[in-house]
Symmetry: C2
Subunit: 515 residues, 2 copies
């Protein structure tokens, strides 16, 4: 049959191909093999070792001079490339280090990392079953598991590129659920103002979504929080009534389980009562806090989450899955995600395929092809089981409580708020401020300048990484996050010692200089 | 200073830590090391070998029985996990195989893959300089390079999760550019209908964006195309005038460079004239076709693209960068992206940091933290130089022209349209149809049933993967995509031979049975 110059090969299954010699590797394959060794030694073994700096900090203009960034007409050779890989590892932040606490994610899980590497090696995209058969089945399986854990009986869902977009999916579903196909075809221009509600401590993605999706940021009504940072249901109802009085349409409430700074959990059950009463879609932004559901000890924090209409959950945060792994789940409305987002492009979603089309997910999302984010989580589940995840979550919570206790016992440290999630928010008060009147404006102004100075010293020494921010009327404070199960009580105590070491010689004059 | 139970360590630079023994690896590190060997042998060496099947196809219900998907209370051991990795590779599609042509992306670039693995190992996110110093510098560097290639003198941009979202950024910019801060705060509800224009062969993401962003799909006006699939500027102007007569506001034109099916390039220069005349934002969806800019021989296809206001370009397609790598670029308006999308969340974007804040990108996107998509492209650039990419693009175009020529010379094959990009669209006409009247409805109905049958046989044999779809009044045809520089002329000829082999015994009765 092969009439032209083609070489006809009847291919075999991959496990039947035995005569593979690595003696005759091509130059790029040799590079790849050597690079793998660097990744293993420098990127895994050394990066996770407490004896290496969390960060080898250089200012942007210095790093730009230090690092050979420039692209030229011709490429460079293998040795140079391998050196650049080492440089990349050297000057990047080591989130694998058990003393990295700067983000909501931390650590480097070997199973998760292999899962991510596998995904990349196969280079599949999520859109159709035929292009990623294994990963499509796994995504369905894992979404079902997450839904079961949330407590949804029937559900649909998707992995999406981050929690912000997961929250936007919640808004998108609410809009379509209320207005049906008309909102999709006609848009918002003829409609009254649709109002979204969320707490003042909620993530900014609700506001970003309101802007991007055409609602407008002023149509996000901000609900008051209590002293622990939890949404006050009575104020939510007041805001709903206000919107109605103004002639607007209350559409969507986003309750937060695990606020970004305090780690507060809004009272979902009470909020669900209000949403039922006023016929409003209840979305729960549990991007950060949902992982507590993995623990019998801590899942009570999300009491009532099973009553929500949709939920966002990022296992790449407290569950330690490699970044990025964000699930959006919707209760009951099985076909709704597809109806809301489908375009029916025939060139991608042919209806005359010979297999079950329910695994073709490309038309229920706003992306076309998506990264595979399910496999790494599936592999971690397979390796650890439910129990392994539970133990890790318990360790992270225990670390946070141990830090809170340590802080309460230690001079010069003060909790901003009792921890709920694994966030621990605290001030470090250097000796030069300890005798001042703590209610004075001057004290608060100076205190707000401490964290930036300590953070700068921390980055330059490379011993730790912790974030800080102000909130409401509270001056800058540290927000310690526990997301790495390898962090020990000794590391927890190190945090306090090290901040004290970095900050104890700060003078009033240092604080005055810092703008 | 260490007064409590903490162990004080003064950490060293990673390249100073020498006493690292791999003799005492933990169980998870041992797993990781063994997994790396599987990735290399099975996922790289064998997967890229023509002698292995492109796909080991199983129907969803069969794969579900074959593959041990289930998650249990307890985890499984290393041996079992390693076997599952092999199974994952076995039943996943091998897009590394030079005979995989199903998507707009294909191939497995060793440099790109190492870049992706490195990104995952470091597990950084893009949001602030301090959390990903190296990658932030590289993103800026690479975006500048892409902008220069497009021909923008001043520009801003971002990597985003796919071309669809890149196109939505274009819409978002257009809207804010016209209405300013008011559109962000007030939304669309009080405004007249804003009209988006794109061709009937454009990607569905414009329509998805119109739905998601609150415009409504009926406010996407569809412009006619010529016989090669290019937008007809005269019809665009007609549609613009129509929108004005209807009292609506023409806001945004998306010209396509490299349509999904035909690979057509809209005449950007002529469209830019109209957009200037009517004061409309010109976005170019060059997700697929922009990579032709890398070649002196083929960059003329995008003549005029430097006049656009924004452009979307996915190097993960024709440039062979691992999925996903999608750039959104905007001309001139340097601060606009930030203004359009910022929320000003103080806990993330502290203004009292001690370094240059211009590298903190988290507040100019709709996501919060993003995956690092720049490094793999940077590493490929470093390894190949501009010249290496140019050579590869030229190979892909040459393959497409060679296939078109082969098809024209071969009985039973017919081009749907002359290729422009590396798409080659063609029908396979099995012997049983060759004597029929080609203008008859019956012929066209039967012809439309050929591709699904051949595709099913192709998947089940694992020799090739090519997509098919209908378009307008044209029955199902194959769309062959060249995105892998390792594909040779012999592979090209194999395509034709193999389709002939798979399809030549198709009978009229087979075609009648297929729904």
């Amino acid at each position: 049959m092969a009439t032209s110059g083609s070489i006809y090969i009847t291919p075999v299954s991959i496990d039947e191909l035995d005569d593979v010699s690595t003696a005759e590797l091509s130059a790029d394959q040799q590079f790849l093999q050597k690079a793998m060794q660097i990744l293993f030694t420098e990127g895994v073994i050394k990066a996770g070792d407490r004896r290496t700096k969390v960060v080898e900090y250089l200012d942007p203009h210095v790093l730009k001079e230090t690092f050979d960034l420039e692209i030229k007409e011709k490429g460079v050779g293998t040795d140079k490339l391998l050196q650049l890989l080492k440089d990349t590892l050297k000057y990047s932040v080591r989130s694998a280090n058990p003393r990295f606490f700067n983000q909501l994610y931390a650590g480097q899980d070997a199973y998760g990392l292999v899962g991510q590497w596998m995904t990349d090696t196969i280079n599949a995209s999520m859109s159709n079953y035929e292009i990623s058969p294994v990963f499509n089945l796994m995504e369905v399986e894992i979404l079902k598991i997450l839904s079961d854990i949330v407590g949804y009986e029937k559900s649909d869902g998707i992995f999406c590129p981050g929690g912000s977009i997961a929250n936007m999916y919640g808004i998108s579903m609410a809009r379509y659920h209320k207005y049906g196909e008309a909102i999709k075809t006609d848009g918002l221009s003829g409609l009254p103002r649709l109002i979204l509600f969320t707490s003042k401590h909620a993530h900014y993605s609700i506001s970003k979504g309101a802007a991007f999706m055409g609602f407008g940021t002023k149509n996000v009504y901000t609900v008051e929080v209590d002293e622990r940072g939890r949404m006050i249901p009575e104020d939510l109802e007041k805001q709903i009534e206000l919107a109605k009085q103004q002639g607007h349409v209350p559409l969507f409430v986003s309750a937060t389980c695990g606020t970004t700074v305090y780690g507060a959990y809004d009272p979902v059950d009470a909020i669900a009562d209000l949403c039922e009463k006023h016929d409003i879609w209840l979305h729960v932004d549990a991007c950060w806090g949902a992982s507590a559901l993995m623990s019998q000890k801590w899942r009570h924090l999300l009491h009532g989450v099973n009553r929500s209409n949709s939920v966002a959950w990022c296992p790449h945060k407290m569950m330690g899955v490699p970044f990025q792994c964000s699930a959006f789940l919707v209760r009951d409305h099985i076909a709704l995600m597809h109806n809301v987002h489908c375009s029916g492009a025939t060139y991608l979603f042919q209806q005359d395929k010979f297999y079950d089309l329910s695994y073709d997910t490309g038309d229920k999302v706003i992306q076309s092809a998506r990264k595979v984010d399910a496999f790494k989580l599936w592999l971690m589940f397979k390796a650890k089981g439910y129990i392994g995840f539970e133990q890790e979550i318990n360790i992270k919570f225990a670390n946070s409580r141990h830090l809170a206790k340590t802080i309460e016992e230690r001079e010069g440290f003060q909790l901003v708020v009792e921890p709920t999630c694994t966030n621990v928010c605290f001030w470090y008060i250097p000796p030069c401020l300890r005798n001042m009147n703590k209610d004075s404006n001057e004290f608060n102004t100076l205190l707000g300048k401490v964290a930036p100075i300590v953070k700068e010293r921390m980055l330059k020494g490379g011993t730790l990484m912790i974030g800080y921010q102000p909130l409401d009327d509270k001056p800058n404070f540290f927000r310690q996050i526990f997301s790495n199960a390898k962090t020990t009580f000794q590391d927890v105590e190190f945090i306090v010692d090290e901040i004290d070491r970095l900050g104890d010689d700060i003078t009033i004059s240092d604080l005055g200089k810092n703008k």
